[in-house]
Symmetry: C2
Subunit: 388 residues, 2 copies
């Protein structure tokens, strides 16, 4: 654990079957007006909306709705939510949905009382909130982003073709999150698998950096092994509670700041994936999957020892009598085969990208420091071309 | 992750070299009167006392001292601390020391405004605080107990020959903890190694239960591998910052409620060890080490699959062509050899126990549910006899 850091994560989690009971413990802590934020209405079909509304009414809350949060929440939608929260004089923003809905709720929470343009302040200038923040709570229905226990908030500006994430401090973290693995059962397989790779990518983004000995890396190897095991069960049996609950728990801990401690990270796969998302509106996890293998094969020589360790510790490659390079390559080959086996999209063409979009994708990709290689524009172009 | 649970850990951690800078951020949040709690005075020799006092003065605090907290804090000392905190009208209790000092500070924090006998209320009847709690902060100088980020508080009643731990809820957790790995350098090797085994025992107590597939078990395997690796470095080179920092971080996460999620646990090694501690006043981690191997060999047949998994995942036993029992036994043999190699005390005789004390030790050992075997009195006797 080289380097200095602080850690604080005050989010209270209610986990397991009937975790929604926890909402009854939390609601009395807040005022009467609740802005209920959700997406396209799937929570109305699967009954979660009715359950949440029943608890809100039981606790005497006044409900104001802000529906229609899209998979990549936009600045236009954010403006709408801010107006709605102001009208409602919201005492609590309750996000019911997946990571996009949670991300969006946090964006609204720091913008309601903000006098400046939130996109410019938070997503372009990366400033911290200076206004009062409306508290956020989450009822999670889709796992992957970890947004239920962190300060992350990714917003897309369609006009500028930019999808940018701000990682806010603990004062913006959800005050509580309700995690019932059964709430994730009705999610289509495509979304479930996409979420699984989002989780894996979060771990790998933090794992592939540094040459020091760091407890966080050992923890990540454990999380990856658990995730792979549970994913294999869940793709065959989507209502296997044990597997879905392990995946849900792993998702939360993959991105709640814990495993990043002592690590430098560049999050470059996310930079590549977010560019694809901004240009195609494809599902986040799938954009990460589609660019991962070309990216990892490109950086492997610069972090060879770590890639070899990954191959052995996570993918069970037998290193006996093999060069580090062979071991590392075998690990990536096993990873690629596994990704295909669970149904991930392995190229950006299938996500709606085309050769003529490459220039724009390269332009939209932020280049970050902290990983094994700082990408050149040519590297980025090569990755996207190989991802076609 | 079977079973329902809540998770909340609001303790803020300042980690790394010069982490004491974090104290300056925290102190302004509290009133003027600080009760400075510490042990036998080693912090005066190594200069940590002076550094902490300088920060307290810089922040304009009135310092009241409560020194002399012993390795197994007693009810008598607790009464003294409560009186001192009342005199001081303490706004903050600042524990500077190891787990005993933190445990004691928490005991004082819930007793200052308590009208009943705290021993009876918290440690015999296991009730929760109903009075106002004085906030606690920690500056850690010895790792092992995890007390810096949990609600655990072990107190010894000499008269009753009982050493009992209460695990309080998050309102009793330290508000902040300062974790500077360099503060642990001056600790004698015996104490360092004892702390290392305390950490390992915390993980194993939570690992050896259940037959389900649980993400927590994978995380624990990672923590154990990191701990063993760093311990091997630290026993040869006690000022290796990387190793000592990994050990410090692992200790915190081994017992801050995280890895217990989804697990049933009996903490039986601690019940055995605490009996030894109550009768001999031996160092906590060494009491755990001295009883562990007879205990694990006794319960191994009842959790055979898990012991075999442990042997492979943590100790690198090659399972090819071996029975589960052989694999499991080889794992325990490797564990035992490693324990000896780092200098742990492997029997209770060396800790001051004698055959004539066995009856008393058996009497003092609490029997708990949740592990692979609920011990009989005869089991307990056998463990202590084999530990002599």
């Amino acid at each position: 654990m080289l380097g200095n850091f602080t850690y604080c994560n005050p989010t209270k989690l209610y986990f397991g079957k009937n975790a929604l009971e926890g909402l009854k413990e939390e609601l009395p802590k807040y005022g009467k007006n609740v802005l209920l934020v959700y997406g396209g209405g799937s929570i109305k079909k699967n009954g979660i909306y009715d359950k949440v509304v029943a608890v809100l009414k039981e606790c005497g809350k006044q409900i104001f709705e802000d529906a229609g949060v899209m998979p990549n929440p936009t600045t236009d939608k954010l403006a709408e939510g801010v107006a709605r929260a102001r009208e409602a004089k919201a005492d609590l923003i309750l996000a019911v949905g997946g990571g996009s809905v949670c991300d969006y709720a946090k964006a609204v929470s720091v913008s309601v009382n903000c006098d400046e343009d939130p996109w410019d302040k938070y997503y372009i200038r990366f400033e911290e909130p200076t206004c009062e923040i409306v508290p956020v709570g989450c009822v999670l229905t889709m796992v992957g982003t970890g947004s239920e226990m962190n300060g992350g908030s990714v917003i897309t500006n369609r006009e500028q073709k930019l999808k940018i994430g701000h990682v806010f401090g603990e004062e913006v973290f959800p005050k509580f999150s309700v995690l019932d693995p059964e709430y994730t059962y009705t999610l289509p397989k495509y979304q479930m698998v996409s979420g699984i790779y989002d989780i894996m990518s979060h771990i790998l983004e933090q794992y592939f950096s540094g040459t020091d000995d760091n407890t966080s890396d050992y923890i990540m190897e454990g999380l990856l092994r658990s995730l792979i095991h549970s994913a294999n069960v869940a793709v065959k049996d989507s209502t296997n509670y044990e597997a879905r609950s392990n995946i849900m728990w792993t998702a939360t801990w993959a991105l709640n700041t814990f495993i990043a401690k002592g690590k430098d990270t560049d999050w470059e796969v996310h930079m590549l994936g977010q560019a694809v998302g901004a240009h195609t509106d494809a599902t986040h996890g799938m954009t990460l999957a589609a660019v991962s293998m070309p990216y990892y094969r490109l950086i492997m020589p610069y972090g060879l020892a770590k890639f070899a360790r990954y191959a052995v510790a996570v993918w069970g490659v037998d290193p006996a009598g093999k060069s580090q390079e062979t071991v590392a390559s075998e690990g990536l080959a096993k990873m690629e085969a596994w990704m295909k086996s669970i149904g991930l999209v392995m190229n950006i063409t299938d996500l709606g990208a085309a050769p003529e979009m490459i220039d724009g994708l390269v332009e939209s990709t932020l280049v970050m420091q902290g990983g094994y290689k700082v990408l050149t524009k040519e590297d980025i172009r090569n990755i996207f071309v190989q991802s076609l």
